[in-house]
Amino acid sequence: MDDLDQLYQDLILDHYKQPRHRQALADKDVSAEAENPLCGDQLRLAVEVDGNCVRSIRHDGKGCAISQASASMMSETLTGKPVAEVRALLGDFIAAMRDEREFDSAWPDEWLALQGVKKFPLRVKCATLAWHALNRALDKQGSS
C-alpha cells in the first residue's frame, strides 16, 4: 500500500461516503463544537449521557474525509459504553495518534484504520478533532 492508500483506507472512505450517526443537529442539542483552522473543518457533536452511559453521539459539520470519517468511526465505536471507559479510550486514542503510545491491536478496526494518518502529521488534528470535541462534551456534562 502506498502512503495515500494508507491514509485513505477503504474503511475510512466508507465512513466518509456513508457517515454513521451523522444528522443535522438543532443548535440546542449541540454539546461541543470543534474547528480545525488549518483546513476549515467544522464539527458539532450532540452527546446524550444516560446515567453512567454514553447513550448516543451524533455529529454534523463540514470537513475533510479524515475528520468526517473519524467522527463517524468514533460515534460508531463508543456509543453505548460507560462514560469512564469512553474517557479512558479517548485519552488512549489521542495519545496513540500523537505517537505517545502504541496502537493496541485489540482496538476496533476503525481505530486501527486511522493509524495511517500518523504519517501525515498535519492531518493528525483532523483525525482527532471529534475525539477532542467528545472529551469537551463529556466535561460539560460532568459539570452540569
Binding site: D3, L4, L7, C39, G40, K62, C64, R123, C126
Partner: protein
C-alpha cells in the same frame, strides 16, 4: 537616496525552460520519482541560484554586523545591506520623498504602521477602511488598533465577480476616515484592485493609504508614485528572496513623525541614563541586528527579476493564468473563484464533494504542491460561502504542462473519493 540605474532587460518574451534551470529546487523529484510541480507560489516563491549564491557569498566572504563595525567585513556588509534600499526604491518606482524600512515581511510592516503611525493618528470615532478580501495580516492589526482607540473598522464588500464594491467604498469615506488599507492583488481571488483610484478618493478626504503589495510586487510592474500610496508593504520571500526580509516603504514626512517601533540598539541617536533620542529614519524603525544576509539576498532577487523584466513576467503569468482558469473550469464539478477583469496568478477553486484538504493531499502524492484552507482570509471565505478553498498559484517558472498535470490529478482525485 538616488535610485541605482536599472539594468538592461532584453524585452523578449521569457524562455521558461531557461528560467527553470535557475531554480535548483525545481529539478527535484518527490514521492517516488515524480517531478515536483510547485503551484504554491502565493505562499512563498522558490529561490533562484543567484539568491542562494548571494546568501552563501555573504556568509563565506563578508559576514559582519552592520553600521557598527569599523573593519573591512563590517564595511562591506554595511555597504551591501544599504545598497538594497536603492534597489528596492527603483524596483517599486518609489518617489523621492520616501524611505525604505526593512522588516521581516508584510505582516511586520503592517504592524509597524499600525503601532507607530496608528495610535497618534486614530482617535475615538475615527474610521479605518479595509476590504473584505484582505489577508488576515492586513486586517487583524487594524482590528487591534480600532479596538484600542475606539475607532471603527469598515470592510469594503466584495462583488460576486471578485472586484471591490467601489460605490460602497466611496460611501464609507468621510472626513473621519484616517486610513484605507487595501491589498493590491488578492491572494485568494487574484483580483488586481484599482489602488490608484482608491488612493485618490481617500486623499480627497484626507485619509492615508496603505497598500499591501505582497502579491503584486512578484507579479507585475509596480510604481508607488503612480499608485499614490502612503505606505507600501511587501515580503521578500514571495519575490524570490529569502524569508526574514521584507519592506515597509513610507512617505518620509509620515515616517519622521512616527515614534519608533521597538527600542534597542541601532535605533538610537543618544542614550542617557533615563531616556534616549532616536536615530533618523529609517534606522529609528530598525532596532537590533537586522536580517543582513536576507536583505542582501533580497536585493539579488529583485535584480534577478529585473533581469527577466517584470513586463515579460506579467505577460507570461497572465497567459498562464488564463490557461489554468480555462482548464480548471472545464472540469465537471469545479468552480473557480475570482472573475475580475484584471487578475493575478492566484487561482482558487472548489471541487464539488471534495474537501480542499483531501484534494491537496491527494495531488501532493502526485508531486503537485497546491494550497488548501482559508488562505488567511476567513472573512472572504464566509463571503464565498465555503469553509476553505484549494488554490493553485502560478509563477513565471511554471508551465502549461504543470497545469495539465494538476488537472489530470484532480480528475483522479474525484474518482478516488467517489465523486468522479
Amino acid at each position: 537616496m538616488a535610485p541605482t540605474p536599472k539594468p538592461q532587460t532584453s524585452g523578449q518574451p521569457l524562455d521558461v525552460q531557461r528560467i527553470r534551470a535557475d531554480f535548483p529546487i525545481l529539478r527535484q523529484r518527490v514521492h517516488g520519482d515524480r517531478p515536483l510541480v510547485y503551484l504554491d507560489n502565493a505562499a512563498t516563491s522558490q529561490k533562484p541560484q543567484a539568491v542562494i549564491d548571494a546568501l552563501t557569498t555573504y556568509y563565506t566572504e563578508y559576514n559582519a554586523n552592520v553600521h557598527r563595525a569599523l573593519h573591512y567585513l563590517g564595511e562591506r556588509a554595511t555597504a551591501g545591506y544599504e545598497a538594497v534600499r536603492g534597489i528596492i526604491a527603483r524596483f517599486i518606482g518609489a518617489p523621492e520623498d520616501g524611505v525604505v524600512i526593512f522588516t521581516r515581511g508584510t505582516t511586520e510592516s503592517i504592524n509597524l504602521v499600525a503601532r507607530t503611525w496608528g495610535p497618534d493618528q486614530v482617535q475615538a470615532g475615527d474610521t479605518i477602511i479595509a476590504t473584505g478580501m484582505e489577508h488576515h495580516s492586513n486586517l487583524v492589526p487594524w482590528q487591534m488598533l480600532c479596538q484600542e482607540r475606539g475607532a471603527k473598522l469598515k470592510l469594503v464588500p466584495v462583488n460576486d465577480d471578485g472586484t471591490l464594491d467601489l460605490t460602497a467604498y466611496t460611501e464609507y469615506l468621510t472626513d473621519r476616515t484616517r486610513l484605507v488599507a487595501v491589498t493590491h492583488v488578492s491572494n485568494v481571488l487574484g483580483t488586481v484592485n484599482p489602488v490608484r483610484e482608491m488612493a485618490q478618493r481617500a486623499h480627497a478626504v484626507g485619509a492615508r493609504v496603505l497598500v499591501d503589495a505582497a502579491q503584486s510586487v512578484p507579479y507585475m510592474p509596480v510604481n508607488v508614485a503612480d499608485l499614490e500610496a502612503d505606505f507600501f508593504v511587501f515580503s521578500g520571500h514571495k519575490c524570490g528572496g529569502p524569508t526574514g526580509a521584507g519592506v515597509c516603504w513610507a512617505r518620509r514626512e509620515l515616517a519622521e513623525a512616527m515614534p519608533p517601533f521597538m527600542g534597542g540598539g541601532e535605533m538610537i541617536e543618544r542614550v542617557h541614563d533615563d531616556h534616549a533620542t532616536w536615530a533618523e529614519v529609517p534606522y529609528k524603525f530598525e532596532a537590533g541586528t537586522p536580517s543582513i544576509a536576507d536583505v542582501i539576498a533580497l536585493g539579488a532577487a529583485l535584480e534577478y527579476l529585473e533581469g527577466i523584466g517584470m513586463e515579460a513576467i506579467h505577460a507570461y503569468e497572465q497567459k498562464l493564468t488564463a490557461y489554468a482558469i480555462g482548464a480548471l473550469a472545464r472540469l465537471p464539478g469545479v468552480r473557480v473563484f475570482g472573475k475580475a477583469p484584471e487578475r493575478g496568478g492566484a487561482v482558487s477553486f472548489d471541487v464539488a464533494g471534495l474537501h480542499p484538504h483531501d484534494l491537496s493531499q491527494y495531488v501532493d502524492q502526485q508531486g503537485i504542491a497546491i494550497r488548501a484552507g482559508h488562505l488567511c482570509a476567513q472573512p472572504l471565505m464566509r463571503r464565498l460561502g465555503v469553509p476553505a478553498v484549494s488554490r493553485a498559484s502560478l509563477a513565471y517558472y511554471n508551465t502549461t504542462g504543470e497545469i495539465d498535470a494538476l488537472v489530470a490529478a484532480i480528475g483522479k482525485a474525484q474518482h478516488f473519493f467517489g465523486h468522479g
